[in-house]
Amino acid sequence: MQELDMDARYIPSGNIVAREIEGELIIVPLVSGIGDIDDELFSVNETGKVIWDRLDGKTSLTQVVQLLADQYSVSRQEMEQDVRGFVGELLKRKMITDARASPASS
């Protein structure tokens, strides 16, 4: 997997729509080549959702780890593993983008 820059700030890609239905977070691809899902649905669970909510383009991944580790009283190391895992997956599926490179962040 690609090495993550923990100082980076990420935002949802403009090529997806994040939908909340009956309390479930679903990522719907808008354009082709996103997520590589055809007849499938990408849904985010509770752990993923708390990370997703912090991907606001203003908070770096290091800050996200710290905030969530404090909020959920888990070790920083454990939380970093979760953030790296989930953010890596989202990047692989092109569902988030680096806010520094995105015009949407300005």
Binding site: R19, I21, L30, E40, L41, F42, S43, V44, G85
Partner: protein, 376 residues
């Protein structure tokens, strides 16, 4: 990899459907962009002339549709099927299609493919539809145009279909089994299956028009196959016959004979889906046009329609003895085209018995029971 944070599930297996089984949530809706069509098919229930001014005047604008879609999305809608008439007749089709996609909907499209242009192809390549379904009215020009009654429509259909297929846009083909097509149905099936191996269906049952046009209704009735013909083509299609046999337990339910209910609606109308009419009227399903069962979205909200109006309609009951003894207790109702919506179109009453549907259902049941007996 995704297991700890997210899941990738086949849509039909998504756990939300099970979790919300007993709840009324409008996960999908049909959006009828227009009642007009570039063809004039003999069997069709909604195909006003392409330049019908009154029909154009009644159509929802893109702004209306954006507002209704916002409401649908907030109620939980995930799927939207764009239908008509022929949706591609709308000059603002691309705008409407894009806005539906941008709201986070999985968008499907029913089209006859005759009007497919390079612009549509670019649109579908950039924003892929969930699927596009095209009806094949004939494997030859003669049959196709006998149904559509528009010279040149076969060439336009082939050009549109080729464009979609060559450019890799996902298409599913289907057919209508009509008096005008039945002689060619095996060729039509082969044609469809050549292009869409994983999906093919044909529909042998026709309901009447939404506008009650007597001349056109007579044409639809003339296109209906005899019950024994319906059964013969269903049994001749191995895939369909096997599927009917597999579903036998749900198609023939002897226990329904003892059912004590006077409710009109026992189907899925208004439970997980609804229809937005071209004229801004909310309907519980695409066929339910009874004036007492539609809701004007230009005068109210989708939320009000879904939360307050639908339960009123679903609560309707009948005291008609014939209905209560025949249809409501019928063990083969699931093999029948009867439903309150189709009964209204057929006879002007939602609890009317419909002879043709009943005869087809009995012929189907007989064939199914025979086949089930043979396979045991």
């Amino acid at each position: 990899m995704t297991a700890e944070y997210a899941t990738v599930t086949q849509l039909p297996q998504y756990h939300l459907w099970d979790r919300t089984k007993g709840k009324r949530i409008p996960y999908s809706f049909d959006l009828e962009l227009t009642a007009r069509c570039n063809n004039s098919c003999r069997h069709c229930y909604i195909n006003l002339p392409r330049n019908d001014r009154d029909a154009i005047k009644r159509e929802l604008t893109a702004e209306d549709i954006a507002s209704i879609t916002d409401q649908a999305v907030s109620l939980g809608s995930l799927w939207c099927l764009i239908t008509g008439g022929e949706p591609l007749l709308r000059d603002d089709f691309s705008e409407i299609y894009t806005l539906l996609k941008r709201k986070g909907l999985l968008v499907g499209l029913f089209t006859n493919a005759c009007l497919i242009s390079e612009e549509h192809i670019s649109l579908f390549k950039r924003y892929p539809p969930r699927d596009i379904e095209v009806t094949v009215y004939g494997a030859t020009k003669e049959t196709y145009e006998k149904v559509t009654r528009r010279p040149g429509s076969y060439a336009a259909f082939r050009r549109g279909l080729d464009l979609l297929l060559e450019r890799g846009v996902k298409v599913r083909l289907k057919a209508m089994a009509l008096r005008s097509t039945v002689h060619e149905l095996p060729e039509i099936s082969r044609f469809c299956r050549t292009y869409t191996k994983d999906y093919f269906r044909f529909d042998p049952l026709l309901h009447l028009r939404y506008d009650g046009n007597k001349k056109r209704n007579a044409e639809i009735m003339a296109e209906r196959l005899l019950p024994e013909e319906v059964v013969a083509i269903e049994q001749a299609d191995q895939e369909r016959a096997d599927s009917l046999l597999r579903g036998c337990d749900e198609l023939i339910i002897p226990a329904l004979k003892n059912q004590e209910s006077n409710r009109l609606f026992t189907c899925g109308a208004g439970v997980k889906s609804f229809t937005i009419g071209h004229d801004g009227y909310f309907r519980l399903c695409s066929s339910l046009w009874h004036p007492g069962c539609v809701y004007d979205l230009r005068k109210g909200s989708l939320k009000d329609a879904w939360e307050h109006f639908v339960p009123q309609v679903l609560g309707l009951r009948s005291s008609d003895r014939d209905f209560l003894e025949k249809c409501r207790k019928c063990p083969i109702i699931n093999l029948c085209l009867w439903c309150p919506a189709h009964a209204y179109l057929e006879a002007g009453r939602m609890d009317a018995w419909c002879q043709y549907f009943c005869e087809v259902a009995h012929a189907r049941a007989k064939a199914l029971e025979k086949r089930a007996g043979l396979s045991q």
